[in-house]
């Protein structure tokens, strides 16, 4: 039995027919063809799949597409401006060498924005704790943490 779902993804209204068991990440990747959101585990631990649901970071691998009915989703594809200018978090990852292979990066960037939104001015220890649900096998986290702190300051300045 297919179910109709409607939601907003990166500012655009989208709809589709899904099985009840279709995960939000499958809907995003396979139906909408937005393949920036990754899947790195089946235990909800790696964070490669993090997107924002109504502005809050969630793991799209552990949410059904039908649970996102009527919600506003932002994926990594929705962060940069239309003219290609990177979001401050993306720019900071670039500046601080916050990525190597890039597999964890979409989730890291989305979690980074969420941390900066929730905890403006968070110190290094807090940022490291907040990254508990995002795993990187390459960088050793140093550049990621620096990027999040730097972008957080830029986002703060833009807000005030």
């Amino acid at each position: 039995m297919d179910i109709d779902v409607k939601m907003t993804v990166n500012g655009k209204a989208v709809s589709g027919k899904v099985e009840a068991r279709t995960l939000l990440v499958q809907f995003i990747r396979e139906h909408l063809r937005l393949t920036g959101t990754h899947v790195g585990c089946d235990t909800t631990q790696c964070g490669c799949c993090v997107v924002h649901v109504d502005g809050v970071a969630m793991k799209s691998c552990t949410m059904l597409a039908v649970q996102a009915e009527g919600k506003a989703i932002t994926t990594i594809e929705g962060l940069a401006s239309a003219d290609g200018t990177l979001h401050p978090m993306q720019q900071a990852f670039r500046d601080h060498h916050g990525l190597q292979c890039g597999f964890c990066t979409p989730g890291m960037v989305m979690m980074g924005v969420d941390i900066a939104n929730r905890l403006p001015g968070a110190d290094e220890k807090t940022v490291r704790h907040q990254l508990e649900g995002n795993i990187c096998r390459c960088t050793g986290y140093q550049g990621i943490v620096e990027a999040i702190m730097d972008a957080s300051a830029v986002m703060n300045a833009a807000r005030s």
Binding site: T43, G47, V50, M63, Q130, N134
Partner: protein, 265 residues
């Protein structure tokens, strides 16, 4: 994941009716435990009944000497609630250390309590803070609610609607976090109510339990020294790849002492 029928319950009565009308249903709360279980095909319910649209199951209130957390309230909301931080800071702190931020944005108190995972944090809060688990059918004392490994007093068709915590004079939760998941390798909630003390342990046994000997010692003298030498037998505790039952027994004493230290500090 095997497929299932999906239902969005309008209210608690509707959820109960759907539970009764379907073959092998499961309630869906935050899905942080249930969906990974389904993905690994460890369960294959015929129907999922989603509680997320029920407005009355969300939110927190302080009512007299109780902090009331409704079943669908996510961990992150409990952790950041100004009311909880003021009335029962140990509960806010416990909720803020469950899993990771994305898990806390979706996982709910009702789902955690219903699941009775041996390493979950909320059961220690329920038993340590003398909570009452309220369902659509009755009120159950936390002491009677948790019955074993993933086993609770919940009957078929029973839905948790809220958890009512008794506000203590003071309380502290200390856990040895599993470094990968955040779950409690051992977690201890210590609370003081007038001349009474409660010590609840999670992570160590098949489900949460109280340590009567520590409670009695604290009721005589509420100091770290009172619990520092009380050993819990390893016989009923769990040993696994992470650590032995003996080590868990040792951690109970250490974490109970640290909790009391932080309280009298």
């Amino acid at each position: 994941m095997h497929n299932f029928n999906y239902h969005r319950a309008a209210d608690v009565a509707d959820a109960a009716a759907k539970l009764a009308a379907t073959d092998d249903p499961k309630l869906l709360a935050g899905g942080m435990t249930l969906l990974p279980t389904l993905k690994n095909r460890l369960a294959a319910p015929s129907d999922l009944i989603d509680l997320a649209a029920i407005a009355g199951l969300k939110g927190i209130s302080v009512e007299g000497k109780e902090v009331v957390v409704r079943a669908m309230t996510p961990h992150a909301v409990v952790a950041t609630s100004a009311d909880v931080q003021k009335a029962l800071p140990a509960l806010a702190q416990l909720a803020g250390n469950i899993g990771d931020p994305a898990v806390r944005h979706r996982g709910t108190i009702g789902g955690s309590v219903a699941n009775s995972d041996p390493a979950a944090d909320y059961p220690a809060a329920c038993v340590g803070l003398d909570a009452t688990i309220v369902t659509n059918q009755r009120k159950i004392a936390a002491d009677d609610f948790f019955q074993g490994l993933f086993e609770t007093a919940l009957g078929h068709g029973e839905i948790i609607t809220e958890v009512r915590f008794q506000i203590p004079d003071r309380a502290q939760y200390m856990k040895f976090r599993h470094p990968a998941s955040g779950y409690a390798v051992v977690g201890v909630m210590v609370a003081q109510y007038g001349s009474k003390a409660r010590v609840a342990v999670t992570g160590a046994g098949p489900c949460v339990f109280r340590v009567a000997e520590m409670e009695a010692a604290l009721e005589k003298s509420f100091t770290p020294a009172s619990v520092a030498n009380i050993k819990v037998s390893a016989e009923q505790l769990m040993g696994d790849i992470h650590c032995s039952a003996e080590y868990r027994a040792h951690l109970i004493t250490v974490y109970a002492r640290r909790a009391v230290e932080a309280m009298v500090g």
